[in-house]
Symmetry: C2
Subunit: 464 residues, 2 copies
Amino acid sequence: MVTEARKGVEDLLYLAMDRRVRLAVTGLNQSGKTVFITSLIHQLLMGARLGGLPFFQVVAEGRFQGAKTVLQPSMHIPTFRYDQFLESLTATPPQWPKATDGISEIRLAIRFRPKGLLQSRLKATNTIFLDIIDYPGEWLLDLPLLGQSFQEWSKEVVTLCRTEPRHTLAQPWLAYLGALNPRHSADEGVLRHASRLFTDFLLACKREPIGLNYLQPGRFLIPGDLKDAPLLTFCPMLSPDPSLEPGSLAQVMADRFESYKELVVRRFYHQHFSHFDRQIVLVDLLKGLNRGPNHFADMSRSLKSILKNFDYGRSSILSRLLRPKIDRLLFVATKSDHVAANQHNNLERLLKRIVTDPVNEASFYGVAVETMAIASIVSTETVVKEHEGRRLSFVRGRPKGRNEEVLLFPGEIPEKIPKPEEWHKERFNFLEFEPVIARNDSDDRLPHSRLDLVLDFLLGDKVT
Amino acid sequence: MVTEARKGVEDLLYLAMDRRVRLAVTGLNQSGKTVFITSLIHQLLMGARLGGLPFFQVVAEGRFQGAKTVLQPSMHIPTFRYDQFLESLTATPPQWPKATDGISEIRLAIRFRPKGLLQSRLKATNTIFLDIIDYPGEWLLDLPLLGQSFQEWSKEVVTLCRTEPRHTLAQPWLAYLGALNPRHSADEGVLRHASRLFTDFLLACKREPIGLNYLQPGRFLIPGDLKDAPLLTFCPMLSPDPSLEPGSLAQVMADRFESYKELVVRRFYHQHFSHFDRQIVLVDLLKGLNRGPNHFADMSRSLKSILKNFDYGRSSILSRLLRPKIDRLLFVATKSDHVAANQHNNLERLLKRIVTDPVNEASFYGVAVETMAIASIVSTETVVKEHEGRRLSFVRGRPKGRNEEVLLFPGEIPEKIPKPEEWHKERFNFLEFEPVIARNDSDDRLPHSRLDLVLDFLLGDKVT
């Protein structure tokens, strides 16, 4: 107990000295979150060696003195298993690590020489503690529920189900729901069956090759220890009456929705989200393009819904109900190495188009929002070749599930969100790649693209 | 929110009217907890029909009017899936349901006519709400940790490891631990490896055919969402120094042990245990006998350790630190149908010998402690036959994993705990049985033994 208290005090001291940064990382469906965090840690641990972080200013200026993993402060949060994930990425043959499905964290101590003359005289070395917190994108997409009533949410879900691919997938659930009377007395068996069909619908929406992201409530997809709890046993239900009898089916559904908001969403906000300093949201934009206009719209809707949480200037949910302390927000398009190097800027621009509504831009008081296109680990090589008289940028790599490398032309990334008529069949078909097998003569630093820019945006001001 | 508040008030009303009973059910390793709860609910739902509960007074007196499952009060506690478990038990062929591995609950409403003339005039029917809470025995066995320091606990574990079967199983862990310096600076990799070996040791102790019960900390065996958290990443460590440096290996282990007590054990106490009204502890005594003296001693140690929590008269842990409101405590030897009917009383007497220390008996102020031998579901038949001139009681049933019934002589249950010299090889070899396949002409009530006595002890005073 004494030790706990002392540690609490130490932590507060670091906080007061601006020497502790809580960096939250999340992402939409299969955006490569685990690989991103693993490579980010790896790059920090490798530090200045082999020139791996040229655009991280503290490294470029020769002030970076090293980083190491240290014991994390939160006793009850699972540790991000960097050791396991790195092992998997550097095995022979290397494999993408298995995705994580809950919250986890890891702490790094970063040592650097301060920039100013005065500071560097006072102390030769400073240390900051970087806590990286990995959590499911589903939890972030749940925050907007706090601003919705059960009826508002139900209407939104039912409206979304009017278009494909939701329309077809929702039929078994909607058919069952349609036969229920919202005024009837609630029965656990009926609640469970309706909830099961709704959960099956959400899971089908999430599963490959559908892969939608805008799916709520998130814990229906990742229940953990809450499996079979009443607050995960309901579904949207439109009701003709504004006021419902207590104990009626629709009222019990509404009660459980409110409990979910209170005991899951608000608890996540208070225990975790409200303590984050910086937030990264990862997205695999290439997969979004591959899947066509409906899927791309779903991805955009998800990103916009996340962004709304930070929209202090307007009457956003978080600014009305809650207030995060996050002051830097970074949207990252991952897997940029799946297209040729000359397409990376387009990828970044496309992401910016999605998350930046020019009208709103001025309203993000106090939150710096940025977009980048990166590769956590580069698993391809760009090869420029003449083809029928034109110079084309090809990509060489080992496509997913294959043993040999191929050279292919992945095509181009549009700078703008394509208009409906521009989504002709198979316009986009970007492949996934296996990680590169390290050559014997290569160094032991995992190759990345632009992680140094990511670090500079997120940590630059903390290491001066 | 309004609804939540209203429900809270209703619940308080029931409580004030003594009309809500929270019945906690737990058990040692594979004692048949899921089947017990399923059959208990089933018997209540079947009520007085077919004469199934002759010794449950409210039924015997014709005052029982019926029971049904209703919506449970706790939104975040998983529901006990009675529906699934009953389906499994009544399938063709029937199967024992899969064991549960966390907490779950279910609520029943029981309607009865009050006993007294006055009361029955005032109201024809009363209702009580019975909340049955199913939780792992490991959690109950964790409570004594609250009264131990890290050094005390470490000493206890190391002492236990001097005898078999722990001695052999603990070697890999103890060997690694022996090479560590408790004063050295703690390293997450070392903590993780030591904890992994210790967890492997606990799992090997729990696994069949070893099947020990006295294994702490319980969440090491069932981590759930806490997997990989620091408070599950430590192990016992003896230290020569009474005071340890902060950050040293032994000190970090001790810190994590304290966090485990605080965030896992005390939280279980406050959120759950302190709200229980009655507690049942199930134990498969037959398996304990099968496994020989060391295992039997481990089972006894576990039961005594549980009992100590209720030992208000002495300086027990719970009476010093905490205070449960449980006023009836029932120890139940399950699976009595695996021996012939004439052995059931011996089974009960043997259990009483284990949990009753005559010196202590008077000290259980306010807690009625009882022991019973029961069969949640009877899956055998006792057949009395002449054998070499003697009348012997055989058992007919379908042994686990076999398709046809056999007739066998399971042997006798000792009335007292056998002395060391009495445990000759294979003295006890009680078999497990598959559930009985219901005959077409049979009724649809699952056969049980003495569940009516269990109900009368636990609920009798609440249905008068």
